[in-house]
């Protein structure tokens, strides 16, 4: 089922048709407050009142034309301004392919650097999201380069990838901010561990290595980008033994997933950041969310039966 969903996520015919159906629009509302930036900003204000900060992203991946990348960058510049004007604790997450990585690496880097500088200048921060395995090396290398000119920026790493322990060590000397996720693409066995128990073990190992570096004085910001609350609590428990409390990392969950847990964790003194996506290009992103969690899928089935 997971493989079918990930296949469907990459299928152009479906991508052109499914989002137009009313049932699909209804289903995706579980994971998005709305398609407009203002919907996302309004939702973030409500989260702020509950002590939950926000990571915004506009959906959309690979582009066909460089002019589109410039438009995306301009859009994010406006988003950063809007976050600051509303006084939100809001960070911004971009995908490099949204900024033209497939067309012109240098232009993508310049957009990223400019957005990272702008975000920091307005009291926020830019995070580089991670994409499927062919993009990982380029993304890590670009992030390393970014840190030499803008030291406050983050990257997402995927625990299921076999290269990730090495990427963590490679980034540690650069005072990185790392958002650790389990990983949601269909990757081959030589690149990624495959079973739930291996992915969880890899996740715990990556998290503890980063937190132990932090406990030893290495400047690193750790975001645990997972909805697996048991795993978060297990990591917190191990972190406590090495002298770190629950504020040593941030818990980052998607809008609409385990909302009750997000509020509970925030009330219990965890730093919680809700990732709010918006925009109309939600189809592949939505299917990856379904592939991630059986609970999401069960919900979707009830919504999607019509088509």
């Amino acid at each position: 089922m997971r493989k079918v969903l990930l296949w469907a996520a990459g299928n152009a015919w479906l991508r052109d048709r499914v989002p137009r159906t009313a049932a699909a629009r209804r289903a995706v509302r579980r994971f998005m407050p709305g398609e407009r930036m203002e919907d996302a900003l309004d939702a973030a204000e409500a989260f702020g009142r509950q002590g939950i900060s926000t990571l915004f992203t506009r959906l959309g991946e690979n582009l066909d034309a460089l002019a589109d990348a410039d438009a995306v960058a301009e859009h994010y510049r406006g988003l950063i301004d809007a976050i600051a004007e509303r006084g939100l604790d809001g960070h911004v997450s971009i995908k490099l392919t949204q900024l033209g990585l497939d067309l012109d690496v240098e232009r993508a880097f310049e957009h990223t650097r400019a957005l990272a500088d702008h975000a920091v200048g307005r009291g926020g921060m830019l995070w580089i999201d991670m994409e499927s395995s062919p993009y990982v090396e380029t993304t890590v290398a670009l992030y390393e380069r970014l840190l030499t000119v803008q030291p406050r920026a983050g990257i997402c790493l995927q625990a299921y990838l076999r290269r990730t322990p090495g990427d963590i060590q490679r980034l540690l000397p650069h005072a990185p901010a790392i958002r650790l996720v389990k990983g949601a693409y269909a990757e081959p066995v030589d690149l990624a561990v495959q079973t739930r128990t291996e992915v969880d073990a890899a996740y715990a190992a990556c998290a503890l290595v980063m937190l132990q570096a932090r406990a030893a004085g290495t400047p690193i910001e750790v975001g645990l980008g997972t909805h697996d609350v048991r795993l978060v609590e297990l990591i917190e428990h191990h972190a406590a033994a090495i002298g770190l409390d629950r504020t040593a990392f941030e818990v980052q969950m998607l809008y609409g997933i385990r909302s009750d847990e997000q509020r509970r964790l925030a009330a219990a003194g965890y730093r919680v950041r809700d990732l709010i996506a918006y925009g109309d290009a939600w189809y592949p992103w939505y299917l990856r969310r379904l592939a991630e969690r059986p609970a999401n899928l069960a919900f979707a089935f009830r919504q999607l039966v019509p088509f």
Copy 2:
């Protein structure tokens, strides 16, 4: 099924009757070369020729009389001599309750210290096995004390226990040798994580914390006491990223379980130690082995159908 087996492991009526049946004796031979010390030593010689070292233990747990503890200690003294006389790379694992912990803590400590000294004097090493949760604090405290008089000795810690991350940190300043196992007793949820994926994540976290300490120069010997080869390989992979190779830890498996993997790992340059049990008090130990692994259980069913 796991709970039934663990209940049966503690049942006195069964313990008195099951081991006398021929079917049970046949079944347990999968996990023991024989009941006599000589059977274990002969098996160890064969392992030695394959580059696999040995950890010996004589089965038997809680005792009724202190004289029995003295006899057990005397037996282990003879085992240590026999290992040395045969020129084996053999360590010895004892349970503190075998040495009278329930009856006289000081006597148990003195036996342990004397055996640890004797083992080191003859070129070997003593490991303290871990028992169910009521014994953990006493065992860790006794091990700490042992290290002040005999710096070369080991202990077993159980990854599923919530206290274990704290025990690791507590022991790290004492240059410990820690054999990490997943944990095989029935423990309540407030003391131990319960699901496979949580236990594996806890195991990976404990292992990486210890290996990272080792990579940072803390003197610690790490034994991975698990038959979960995928988990071993995952830990090795993460260890490699922090600059350690596969000789930074020892893989410790039980006799008769994944024998092919033990040989394969030894041939591939891992340090492998096979835990050989012997003695006639194998009943509760055997049932815990069955509870641990569905594969063991399937094998046992075929042997045990008669009763």
